[in-house]
Subunit: 192 residues, 2 copies
DNA sequence: AGACTATCTAGTCAACGGATACATCGTGGG
DNA sequence: CCCACGATGTATCCGTTGACTAGATAGTCT
């Protein structure tokens, strides 16, 4: 006899979100099935709809979580590199470590189709990238701003990750390519 | 009475491919329905299966076509810029023009999940990027190779496109950011 | 002419996302 | 104390989709 699971789950939203994150990481967003998700958590397939009215809103929520995770990793990398001369390389390494090991999640985060609540995703992304801008404050060539340099640096990292994940670049070339990339950016001298 | 359409389509593979490309460009790969596709072309839903045994193989074929298109655009940009000093900027502009105006197609091309025949996609990508490597032949800092520089340059462009397409960067900032990016790469002096 | 092969049709299946009506729970006002 | 009400989850139904299979059709080659 089944252990008479309670009618109300008690923490459905969180449970669904966690399970969904796991599935996306393992099998990719396109393989995410709302019904399978509900079954895995132990509710009917219509129950999660209370919290995620449709599939896209769930994916958006996952993207937001992903950006929070990425932001944390970047902050860790900054904090772990007190020496400004190694800080840029450290961040770059952390970014690619994340984007490659969590390729499915990264692909979801940077998907260009977010639902009506896509603003939340954009805000999450901006927050995650904030640590990057600080790093490039300092001596810059005239005409450049920390924001712009950070954005191009970010683009380079993200693009490199994309090339790795789609198979154009082999994983064992990444280290050297990060060096090649980092060499093109100023090694800021830390907090002003 | 219906005009007695012939039993054999005569050019099914090509017709399906073209219609599929149109759908992907307009609505994105996730909205691509094999059945709708077959209906639009005027055959039964199982007919295209002869050429694309499953959905993934069709997507891969579309990605290959996309890379062919991108390669052509890049070659055009190179040929249209006889002056080596403007060549890099020209290519960068062409790349972003393609990646932004064909965002859905680009997302499909750089999706990290390609089927068993993903090799074809990789080869197509490599061929598309070939013009880039040639541009960076010339004076390079020691330790750099044209391949590596071209790859980082490519990554920067692709990353920038991704950031635009996912909403982190506004379209009207792209021009300035391209300049910021291009400034970090040597303006090769043309064919050696 | 007759077999052979490529191509397409027709019918079936399980799974999915979405929608709706109903059951269950717990909580706060009378 | 209890009961009405909102919140949460269940039970069903629907149309669509990708995938599979058996069989019809049409060129082709001998």
């Amino acid at each position: 006899m089944t252990p008479a699971r309670p009618y109300h789950h008690g923490n459905l939203r969180q449970a669904v979100l966690e399970r969904a994150t796991a599935v996306v990481r393992e099998r990719g967003a396109s393989e995410l099935s709302l019904r399978e998700l509900a079954a895995a958590v132990g509710v009917t397939h219509a129950a999660p709809r209370r919290y995620f009215p449709d599939r896209q809103q769930l994916l958006d929520a996952l993207a937001v979580e992903g950006f929070a995770l990425l932001g944390a990793r970047l902050r860790e990398a900054v904090d772990a590199s007190p020496d400004p001369s190694t800080r840029v390389r450290s961040i770059a390494g952390a970014y690619l470590e994340f984007a490659i090991s969590e390729a499915n999640l990264a692909e979801l985060m940077f998907a260009h189709t977010h639902g009506a609540g896509g603003d939340a995703v954009g805000e999450g992304a901006a927050a995650a990238f904030a640590p990057l801008v600080r790093v490039f404050q300092g001596d810059l060539p005239p005409g450049s701003t920390p924001q712009r340099v950070a954005l191009i640096f970010l683009a380079t990292l993200q693009g490199l990750a994309g090339l790795v994940n789609c198979g154009v670049v082999a994983v064992d070339e990444v280290g050297g390519l990060i060096d090649e990339a980092v060499a093109r950016f100023p090694q800021g001298r830390g907090e002003p």
